[in-house]
Amino acid sequence: MTALLDARGVVKRFGGLTAVDGVDISVGPGELVGLIGPNGSGKTTLFDCLSRISAIDSGSISFDGVDITRHRPHQVARLGLARTFQLIRVYRELTVSENMELSIQWRRVGTARLFGRTDAATRRRVESLLEFLLLSGLRHERAGALSGGQRRLLEIGMALMSEPKLMLLDEATSGVNPTLVAEIADRLREVNANGVAILLVEHNVGFVAELCHRVVVLDRGAKLAEGTPRQIMEDPAVIEAYFGAEGE
């Protein structure tokens, strides 16, 4: 089985600081992988590299058989890679529906549709996704007026709008009401069951253990461990670096 996402030796430096230090990471089609690590271990930076928002200093990244090391973010998105952001990015002056309508798969938008209006099929898709994410009642609300948790859900909805092959979720449950976290887990499982691969960053270890097939642990920019949730939880190096540090 060839990997959907395959990154080799990714290095990202900020001045003297090496935020990502030669990380290899791959995600197979339909796989659900967790990425954990202490604060500042480089998870978000790695996501920025994988989604091509940040240029990398060395290494290579391929997605769905295409070398995307030099692609621009919108090209990566058009190949089927969607992501959410730890610091949420929604279009705040636009309504929830408009946010969703703008997150279509732009690969299919030629010049004619670029200068066309949102079609009925897109609107139906928006409706059903908003329903799925419990946001239907807010469709006409300005995105900037939503609560943090609602915005997280909206961002997941926007990622889903593009019919992705892989979603990178950066702390999709942070700031979300605990009762809703379980809902999100159910939604993600359902999305994943429909064949969408997911790579998610989480601080909620229980959430990761319950949901993920495989877990990758980062520490100070480098990969510390990789394995099933159970293996990871029992790995002394992980306990030392991650859970130990957390407990301090």
Binding site: S51, I53, R72, P73, H74, A77, R78, A82, R83, F85, Q86, L87, I88, R89, V90, Y91, R92, E93, L94, T95, E98, E101, L102, S103, I104, Q105, W106, R107, V109, R113, L114, F115, G116, R117, T118, E131, L134, L135, S136, G137, L138, H140, E141, R142, G144, A145, S147, G148, G149, Q150, R151, L153, M158, S162, S174, G175, N177, L180, H203
Partner: protein
């Protein structure tokens, strides 16, 4: 299922519902009819028509500025450059002398080529400057404006240098007025249509969060350059029209900073990122200026500064924002401009 995640009641904003649209259409049609019959009224002479034509020119420039400044969020301090380029290209073509008394190009193709040249230069410059953010873009455009004016001034052989160029006079104020009225009405209708398309919505997405837009598959560079070039083209066209009516251009009257300032002020006063904003705002600005000019001659610059403060404090969404909250606010634009845009109301990131 229908309950929302927070306990607060669901507030469904009626954003420009059908009733508002109907009112707007009626007002626009009424206004157009009134403006169309105006020249036939007694007492409306050529000079009044010329004043109105100049106001329509300012309206058009503001509408074009709003495409990049209001919708896309790129605050262009050099927009008047496209006006000057359109004016000069038209003037140069129309005053072309090929050995002897032979007169240059006729006006319509000269003005169209003027617009095309302005659009092409905007495309070339925009490709470079639209990579810049916030104040860097604004200042680069101001630099472009000054540079273009000085290039025109020193290229005496082509442009007449500081002396300027005289165009063949053709004085028919009502005709120009009607042409201008039709073009401005068409431009406003076009902007309204564009705002409803995916393209128009994507421009707003770029304004709201460019990284997010790019990451969701929007080719932001391409869209920015397209809209910027169109704005350059359209402002260039009005520059050409102005040159023909003015029958004379020199660097200091074709390239005027005030044209940019008026577009910015008019758009902010009317409502950034709305279709009607730059129209309403520019008309209001002209009216206010007449009023101030008559009564506060010495203080009108101060008065304009005060006006800007009033807008920011009390009318961040402009006059149009009072009835239609869909535009962008001046304060939001300012936050994005200085680079605290997309990230400032982040909900509880754990320390």
């Amino acid at each position: 299922m229908k309950s929302t995640t927070s306990g607060k009641p669901v507030f469904i904003a009626r954003r420009g519902g059908p009733r508002l649209r109907l009112v707007l259409v009626r007002v626009s049609v009424g206004l157009l009819v009134a403006l169309a019959v105006l020249p036939t009224l007694p007492g409306v002479g050529d000079s009044a028509l010329f004043t109105l034509t100049l106001m329509l020119t300012s309206v058009a420039v503001a509408v074009n500025w709003n495409l990049t400044g209001g919708f896309t969020g790129y605050v262009d301090f050099g927009h008047a450059a496209w006006f000057g380029i359109g004016a000069y290209t038209t003037a140069m073509l129309m005053s072309l002398q090929t050995n002897g008394p032979q007169i240059g190009w006729p006006a319509p193709p000269a003005m169209i080529l003027g617009a095309v040249v302005a659009g092409a230069v905007a495309a070339a410059i925009g490709r470079a400057t639209m990579r810049l953010k916030g104040p860097y873009f604004s200042i680069a455009m101001l630099g472009t404006f000054v540079a273009v004016r000085e290039i025109v001034r020193v290229s005496g052989g082509l442009t007449g240098g500081g002396v300027g160029l005289t165009l063949p006079p053709y004085l028919n104020r009502p005709l120009f007025y009607y042409i201008q009225l039709a073009l401005v009405a068409g431009l406003v209708a076009f902007t309204w249509w564009l705002r409803g398309t995916r393209f128009g919505a994507a421009l707003v997405a770029i304004r709201e969060d460019e990284v997010g837009a790019e990451m969701r598959g929007i080719n932001t560079t391409r869209l920015k350059v397209i809209v910027f070039s169109f704005a350059g083209f359209s402002t260039g066209l009005f520059g050409g029209l102005w040159a023909y009516q003015n029958t004379f251009v020199d660097p200091d009257i074709a390239f005027v900073e005030l044209r940019t300032v008026d577009a910015v002020m008019g758009t902010m006063l009317g409502g950034l990122g709305t279709v009607a904003g730059p129209v309403v705002g520019t008309v209001a600005l002209f009216w206010l200026r007449e009023l101030l000019w008559a009564n506060l001659l010495d203080y009108h610059l101060i008065a304009q500064g005060v006006l800007l403060i009033v807008i920011v404090l009390f009318l961040p969404r402009g006059l149009v924002g009072i009835v239609d909250p869909r535009g962008a606010s001046v304060t939001g634009l300012w936050r994005r401009w200085i680079g605290r845009g997309a990230r400032e109301n982040e909900p509880g990131k754990e320390p």
